[in-house]
Symmetry: C3
Subunit: 353 residues, 3 copies
Amino acid sequence: MLKKSFYPLLILTFLLSALSHYLHWGMELQFAFAGIAILFAAGLLGKATESVAHYAGQRLGGFLNATFGNAAELIIAIFLIKEGLFEIVKASLTGAIIGNLLLVLGASALTGGLKFKEQKFNVHLAGQNASLMLLAIIALFIPAIFVQTEHISVHDTLRMSEIVAAFLIIAYIGWLIYSMVTHKDLLADNEETKADHGESPGWSKSLSVVLLVVATVMVAFISEWLVHTLDAFSARFGLSELFIGAFVVAIVGNAAEHSAAIMLALKNKMGAAVEIAVGSSLQIALFVAPVLVFVSLLFGGGMNLIFTTIELAAIAVAVFIAISISRDGSTTWFEGMLLLFVYAILGVAFFFV
Amino acid sequence: MLKKSFYPLLILTFLLSALSHYLHWGMELQFAFAGIAILFAAGLLGKATESVAHYAGQRLGGFLNATFGNAAELIIAIFLIKEGLFEIVKASLTGAIIGNLLLVLGASALTGGLKFKEQKFNVHLAGQNASLMLLAIIALFIPAIFVQTEHISVHDTLRMSEIVAAFLIIAYIGWLIYSMVTHKDLLADNEETKADHGESPGWSKSLSVVLLVVATVMVAFISEWLVHTLDAFSARFGLSELFIGAFVVAIVGNAAEHSAAIMLALKNKMGAAVEIAVGSSLQIALFVAPVLVFVSLLFGGGMNLIFTTIELAAIAVAVFIAISISRDGSTTWFEGMLLLFVYAILGVAFFFV
Amino acid sequence: MLKKSFYPLLILTFLLSALSHYLHWGMELQFAFAGIAILFAAGLLGKATESVAHYAGQRLGGFLNATFGNAAELIIAIFLIKEGLFEIVKASLTGAIIGNLLLVLGASALTGGLKFKEQKFNVHLAGQNASLMLLAIIALFIPAIFVQTEHISVHDTLRMSEIVAAFLIIAYIGWLIYSMVTHKDLLADNEETKADHGESPGWSKSLSVVLLVVATVMVAFISEWLVHTLDAFSARFGLSELFIGAFVVAIVGNAAEHSAAIMLALKNKMGAAVEIAVGSSLQIALFVAPVLVFVSLLFGGGMNLIFTTIELAAIAVAVFIAISISRDGSTTWFEGMLLLFVYAILGVAFFFV
C-alpha cells in the first residue's frame, strides 16, 4: 500500500520537473527535480505493474512482473538511444547490474543482518541465479574479447551483437518457463514470502491499467527531461559520462528496488530481497540489454553489445562476489558490508577515470 | 552392444573414404566421406577399448578406458602435428574441451531433463572435477599470460611448456591413482550406473585385442585423409582454421562421446553422462595436450602450450559455466539449454573471427 | 612448547648473521645466515605473540594473534619500503599470499592426507574466507585494470590506492568484529582444535612481553641485513627481483606458518591448518598490504597498490584453486598435490620472466 502523502508528492515533483524543463530553469535544478520526480513515478509504475499482474492471474502476472520490473530503466535507456548516447546506455546498464548486486543486495544484507543474526533463503534459487548470471557475463564478455583481440569489422560486430542478443532473449524466455512453469516448486521460498513480495495496492482492475498507462507516460516524459540535463550535470561537477551513467542514472533508476529490498530484509524475508536484487540484474543483462540492441535498430541502429573492459570488469566482480556470498543460502551483516565495500571501490575507480 | 547394421556401414564408409582419397575425388566429397567414416571407426575404437578394459580387470581396465578414451582425438592431433599445423591442433584441443563441456554435457542435460524433472549425481565427483579443471585452466593460462606480458623468448616458451606439460601428466597420473585406488569409494556413483557405463559388447578376449588394433589403424588412416582435406574445406566455405579446428574437427572427433552421453542421460544415468563429458575434457587438458607437446619433439619439436587469448577465454567460460551447473550434483533441462547457448555464443564469435 | 635446542640455535644464527653483515663477509654467506636466522627469530616472534595473546584474554588475544601474525613479513616489508624497493615489496606480498594458499595449504593437505583419508573442517569458515579473499582480489584487481586501461595520472593512482587501502583496513576490522564477536560460534571448529592452535609456550606474563620485544628487535635487525643482500643474491643466481620477492623472501618469511600448519595437519587438525594458511593470506591482503601504503607515506610516500598483471594473475589463480578445494570443508592428499602443482607452475613461470 502506498502512503497517502505519495500522490500529492508524485504530482508536485512531476509538475516542478516539467516547469523547470519548459521554463529553462538552471540545469542543476532541472536535474534535481527530474531525479526526484522519477523516483516517485517509478514507484507508481512498479505498484501499477504489480497490481495488473495481480489481476492477470499468477502465471501471466509473474511474467508481467518479471518482464516489466525494469520498465523505468528501459524507458530511460530508450531516450538515451534516441539521442545516440550509446555509451551512456551501456554505462547505465552496467550501473544497474552492479547497483542491484552490490548496493541493493549489500544494503539489504547489512540492514537485515544488523537485526537478525543470519538470514536464510532457498539455496536452489541461489545456484540457478549464479548459472544465469554467468551466462549473462559470458554473453557480454565473449564478443568483447573477440572484438578487442581480432579487430572484427564494425558491421560484423553489430551482427554478432544482434545474434548474441537474440540468444539472450531466448534464454530469458527459457528461464521464465523454467522458473514459473516446469520447476516452480523447486525454486519457491516459503509461501508467505512470495505473497508479501507482490503486496497488492488494492486498486480495481481498470484503475490498475489506467495507472500503469499514466505511470509509463510520466516516466517517459521525466526520462527525456532528465537525459537532457546529463551533459550539463557532468560538466558542472566534473564527472565523466561513464560515472554519470553507471552511478547517478543507475541509482536513480533503481531507487524503487532499493527501498523494497531493504524493507523485506528488515522483515527477515531475505529470500524475496535477494530475488529483487538478483532478479533485477538478470532482467537487465538477459532482457533489457538485448532488447535495447533491437530497439536501436528502430532509431537507425548502431548500438552493439560490446562493453568496455572496465565495465566488464565491474560486472564480473559484482557477479562473482554476489555469487560467492549468496551461494550458501544465507547472509549476515558482514557479507552485506563486503558487497558495499566492493561497490565503493568500483565507485572510486570509476570516479578517477 | 553394437547394432548389426554397424559393421557393413563401418566398412562401406571406410572404403568410400579411401577411394575418394586415392582417386582424388572432389575435396568436399573427400571431407564428407572421411568425416562420416571416422565416426564409425571412432565408435569401434571406443567399444574395443571398453572390451579390452573389461578383460584387463577392473583397475587396469579403468585406467585403459580413461587413458585411451580420447585415442581418436590423439591420433588426429598427431597427424596434424606431423604436418606442422600446430595452431589447428591447439584449436582442436580447445574445441574438444568446450565441445565436451558445453555441447555433450548440454545436450545430455537437455534431452535427459526433458524426460526427467531433475537428474542427480555424486556431488563429490563434481567438486573434484571442478578443482581438476581449474588446475588445467591455470596450467594453460599462466604460461600464456606470462608470454603475452613479458616477451619471453621462443626457446624459453618451449622449455616452459615442456615443464608445465610434465606437471600436468604427473597430475593426471595422480588423479588416476586417487580416483581408481585410494579414494575410489568416495567418488563412485551408485553401482549400476558404473556397470552400465562400460556395457560390454560381448567379444572374446582375443577378438577384442584384434578389433582394438584394427580400429586404431582405421582411425589413423582416415585421420590422415581428413587432415589433407581441411585446407580445401576451409577455403570452400570461407571458414577460418580456428573455426575448422575448434568446431568441425572437434565435433567429428567427439561424436562417440556425444551419442553415448545422451543415451545415458535418457536412461536417467546422468552421473555417467557427466563422467564422460567432464572426464573427456579433463583427459584432453591434462593428458592429450601435454602428451602432444612431447609428441611434437619426435617430429622436430616446436609445439608449445601457449593458447591464444580467445581459445583461453573459450576454455575458461566453458569450465566456469560447467562447474557452476554441475556443482550441486543435479541438472535440469534449463541448465542443459544454458550450456548449449554458451556453446552457440562461442560458435558465433569464432565464426566472425 | 619450543624445543630446548631452539634457544642456542636462535642466538647462534643471529650472531653469525650479525658477524657476516658487519664484517662484510661474502654476500652469499650473508644471505644464507640472514635467511636462517630470520626463521628462528620469526619462530620466537610467533610464540611470543601467542603467549602475550594468551594472557590478554580470549578476545583481545585473538585480535593480537590475528593482527600480529604476520609481524615478520610486515617488518621485512618496512625495510624494503625504506630502501624504496616498492616492486620487491609488492612481489613479496604476492609471494606471501600464494605461498600461504598454495605451498602451506598444499603441503598440509598432502602430508595430512597421506596419513588420513579425508580431513574435514568447518564449511562456514571456508565460505566466509572465500568471500573475503574475493574482496581482496577485487580490491587489488580493480585499480590495476583501471590504471592499465585508462592512463590515470600517478597522483590519482596514489590517491586511489590510499582510498582502497582505507576500505580494506575497515573491512579487516569488520572481519575481526564478525569472527571474534558477533558470529564467533558460527565459525568455530570443534573446541580442541582451537585450543591447540594457540598452544602456549608456558612463559610468565612479563617474560612473554620481554620476549615479544626481543623477537621484534631481532627480526627487525635481520630483515635489514637480509634486504641488503638481495641485490647481490639476485645477481649471483641470475634471478629477477620478481622471483626473489615472490619466492625467496616469501618462503623465508612464511617458514613459521609453514611448519605449524603441517604439524596440525599431521594431528588431523586440518581446520586449524586451513585457518593459518588462509587466515595469513587474508591478513596480508586486507591488513599488511594496505598498512604498507600508509607506512610508505612516512618515508616520503610513493607506494601504490597497483600490482602487475602477472602478480594479479598469480594471486587470482591461487585464490580460485584454494577456494575450489576448500569449499567443501574437506581435503585429501590429491587436493594438496594439486595446490603444490599450481605453486610449481607459478614458480616456473616467474623463473622464466
